[in-house]
Symmetry: C2
Subunit: 450 residues, 2 copies
């Protein structure tokens, strides 16, 4: 590993401290414009032509510098962060970057300010290594990723020409639990829906149980029938559009190093769904679509008893989808399933803008460069992940802009992303930023300076 | 109807005002001893030998005056009340008795202070009518009815001799929606249980859905299998001990005046379970045991989405039982059912002390007197209800003390018992108290004074 030069490590720490100090919590609608402004200053300092593009939500910060005849690299990142609560579980103030034991703590220290700063510092480093940036750079930094990127698809579609590039680097990435660098090549799609039900005008005394339908039981019954004990979704047509994995994808999934035993111990689970271990565990995580119940609430939940017959019930679901499933079609299938099963009184509402699944080809030559750069920076081969189990607005970048996208970065499984005590390890900042530098050099056809 | 004499109406109002002013909310553990003391003074003023009997919870106020050679009547009542919240829905202070439009408003104005005061005033009236009380009187007034009477069974069993009586008057009663007097002859039993489940050591990101079991889904699945769409309980053995109704019980159920249409409109229900109307609706309410889901809670329930995979789930159930079902046996059957269905990870806990079902014979001569007294007081025949859909500590009084029990009183369906703006109508106080007077005269073999 080639470490960041000390002055760039210092610059990383200082820029991240400025960013973390701005509580740009999208869900709370605060700090967005201040953060956007701070980001514009940093991107302009890189010599990029920088603009705040208005959307129906928070502005997208767009920056570019094109180099005639050279490839352009698009960086997708976001400047919003998750809420910091529960505050009492933080060991230091979430909005004051704090260094402890070789790590930098704060909300956004990893997701996504720490990643974004790593890319900016990588570009500075490249300029120092080569006197200039001899390739095109495009930044797309949105402010609504943590609330589901509701305006990203339209933004990319409307600015397709302006965003044109040859290859992209995604907002996150890092190492696995054994410090092996990950090269993730896809994200699942997501559709989030609320199921709600009313069986009477008001909650009633449970003495009416023999005659009035119980909303909690009825919605439990509807939800129970949506999948089976091993997680298989029972909605007719749900799997129809699932694209069978290619031999290459199957090969990468089978080659993913085993870590289900470590995870099982960490989360206290004795048996995974389907009894999955090893390659089957990885296949499920990377390639299987699912239906999750995020929450179910009806009636009384306090201590002791309350003999109420609840008139309303609410279940919150998310579907994680794989290519070529279509989120809105899946929601329509859910509708039809409920009708068919006699649950036409269950109201289905989209909770958030859905996201479509997307993958890039791990064997694309641009991605092979990424694997090589990672091996060089980390001294160990990259682990190719065909698809993350998570979601994000990857689809328009892959399908509209037709970009091969590399997901690499400075995170690790213990970064506590979205949780109290989020942090980035300095060791990951050094090697992750160096990997980015080497990848950009490879893509631009530059030899590393002596 | 013979109204209460004005000075007794005034005495009713004044005593109820004193009682309502004491917030004896059992669930909040406040006002109990002050209320017990106020009650002791009133019962002593009636000339009864009055004691506060300690229990493991709130004391039972016991009062008696025996008359050699005459029958003894036991009054079961309670001096605790439900919590007053939500406070903002009260039109007057819940702990200040307030008269509006011919009704007296306040927490406990009906349940059970209003009923209790009616019985005390009835005894005063009887003394005025006959110069003395020529029959035995026993009061058992507990302070924990609203939290499930956890100490009543043991209390009755331990003081079986001391409580001996010939007949009893229960803590509640009144008229139906058409102002017909009700003579209720039974209560259902109740067992309340919490079902809880843990599938992982912590809530996880829902990207883990393909491999980690979802606690919300799994408990929904367990709960869904406990009953069917029309309310039939699917737990093996659940109905085994249900005693078939006698011809007389069947006859009373069929003769119950139809009021399901009024209730359907009031609660906004288009179809009752099993499509029940008329006599079948009454049969279900009075004779069918049920399983109710009082609440179901797991995971996220706020606005928008949160892509969490919940590791825990909680469901709160109540079983309403009929003779000769045994609450603890039913809980054991629930256990066995869950084991058999593969839900051995669902933890079953009793939420509160269960109560056994009990009924008295509507054709018992003591009860026939009650029907006659009601018809005399209300000018219309009493409606015999074989069993209320609700529960209470009736079983030890019927089965241990072997008392025929009449459930009569001063309530009506709009009394808003357990809700904001609880009240008693003065018209019900007049005729309900008079019915009590006439019933006691009939039981004691006294002719009404000229």
């Amino acid at each position: 590993m080639t470490p960041l030069p000390p002055h760039l490590e210092e610059a990383y720490r200082a820029m991240l401290a400025r960013f973390v100090a701005i509580p740009s919590v999208g869900a709370e609608g605060r700090g967005q414009s201040e953060m956007a402004h701070a980001l514009v200053l940093e991107l302009e300092a890189l010599g990029l032509d920088t603009h705040a593009h208005e959307t129906e939500g928070a502005p997208v910060i767009f920056a570019e510098r094109r180099v005639h005849g050279a490839p352009s690299v698009l960086f997708y990142n976001h400047y919003d962060v998750q809420p910091a609560d529960p505050l009492d579980l933080w060991e230091s103030d979430p909005f004051t970057l704090t260094e402890r034991d070789g790590s930098l703590y704060g909300r956004g220290a990893s997701d996504d300010k720490g990643q974004l700063v790593s890319r900016i510092i990588a570009l500075r480093w490249l300029r120092e290594r080569h006197g200039d940036l001899p390739f095109g750079v495009v930044f797309v930094v949105e402010g609504e990723e943590e609330i589901g990127s509701p305006n990203m698809v339209r933004y990319v579609e409307e600015r397709r020409e302006q965003l044109a590039a040859d290859v992209g680097i995604w907002e996150f990435g890092g190492v696995d639990a054994h410090d092996r660098p990950l090269l993730t090549c896809g994200l699942k799609g997501i559709a989030t829906v609320d199921l709600s039900l009313r069986t009477a005008a008001m909650d009633l005394h449970s003495a009416n149980g023999p005659v009035v339908q119980n909303a909690a039981w009825r919605l439990a019954s509807a939800v129970a029938g949506l999948r089976d004990e091993e997680g298989r979704v029972l909605i007719e047509g749900f799997y129809d559009r699932v694209r069978p994995p290619t031999d290459a994808e199957r090969g990468y999934v089978e080659a993913t190093p085993r870590d289900d035993d470590v995870f099982a111990e960490h989360v206290g689970v004795e048996r995974f769904l389907g009894g999955a271990t090893g390659a089957e565990y990885q296949r499920r995580l990377q390639l299987e679509p699912t239906l999750n119940v995020n929450g179910f609430h009806s009636g009384y939940g306090g201590p002791g008893m309350k003999t109420v017959l609840p008139a309303t019930a609410l279940a919150k679901l998310d579907f994680r989808l794989v290519p070529d499933q279509q989120p809105l079609e899946i929601v329509a299938l859910l509708h039809e399933h409920l009708e068919r099963e006699g649950f036409s009184d269950v109201v289905v509402n989209l909770a958030e803008e859905p996201e479509r699944p997307a993958r890039v080809d791990p064997d694309d030559p641009w991605l092979r460069h990424a694997a090589d750069a990672l091996e060089e920076a980390y001294g160990t081969p990259a682990v190719v992940i065909v698809s993350s189990g998570g979601s994000g607005p990857l689809h328009p970048f892959v399908e509209v802009l037709e970009l091969p996208i590399a997901m690499i970065g400075v995170s690790y499984p213990g970064s506590r992303v979205h949780s109290p005590n989020e942090h980035v390890r300095l060791v990951d900042v050094h090697r992750g930023t160096y990997a980015t530098v080497r990848l950009l050099e490879r893509w631009a056809g530059l030899a590393p300076p002596d």
